[in-house]
Symmetry: C2
Subunit: 138 residues, 2 copies
């Protein structure tokens, strides 16, 4: 399944993602006026980010395709267009596309005065397919 992105395709991520993901930093807030960044991310099928935390929390507004999200110690949850996920501060988690579908979502990082993402460890193929139900799954 492919996605109809809203914003121009962003730059490819070169670290902390298992394969191809593109990030368009819509609101960089370099002057720290809003204490908030917003970005649109396109994950190619099968791509997920490494486990990480946000000191300020994170908000996901899902705009296309299918994806998954998993907090440490919990089952993974499926995300699709129209879903909203709230990630509490300092909760270890990962998110990404489904094995057979692209995934786009707008991400919001509030409370950036508390710090940026802390990256922890990659999600292995075994962990990812166990969480998402297998290689062919959308």
């Amino acid at each position: 399944m492919s996605c109809n992105k809203i914003f121009p395709k962003g730059e490819p991520m070169v670290s902390n993602f298992t394969s191809k993901a593109f990030v368009n930093l819509l609101v960089p807030d370099t002057n720290e006026i809003y204490n908030c960044q917003a970005y649109e991310v396109l994950f190619e099928a099968g791509c997920r980010n490494d486990r990480h935390t946000h000191a300020g929390g994170q908000l996901l507004l899902c705009t296309g395709g299918c994806g998954y999200y998993q907090e440490k110690g919990k089952a993974a949850g499926r995300l699709q267009r129209g879903d909203v996920a709230e990630i509490m501060p300092n909760i270890e988690h990962w998110h990404g596309a489904a094995p057979a579908s692209e995934f786009t979502r707008i991400g919001i990082s509030p409370n950036t005065q508390k710090g940026t993402a802390i990256w922890i460890s990659p999600v292995t193929d075994e962990e990812y397919y166990e969480a998402t139900g297998g290689r062919a799954n959308v």
Copy 2:
């Protein structure tokens, strides 16, 4: 021009908007964890909100149709799908749909610990059409 909304159509606004607008409060942050609210708003053609300010600023991610935005003392700017508008804290402004087009956008209100919107005055039909180029304009 009609829009393809991402999230379910929200509740109709009963004040501070000239005509029909629907707001889906995606992230209410009632527990004040994120100091940030996010919402999708559908403005019907010709609808605009009253002039107002946000102590924490506001971010607009435009997702469909055509709209306008005007800061006090400046010319109105046209907005369409894929545009991003950053509204500085305490700047008096209004936004809404174009005269002949619906408009949808995701709004983010960061720094909510600084307060909610302060509503000032409606935008008259004369002011609106002068800003947007007339009744038939998209």
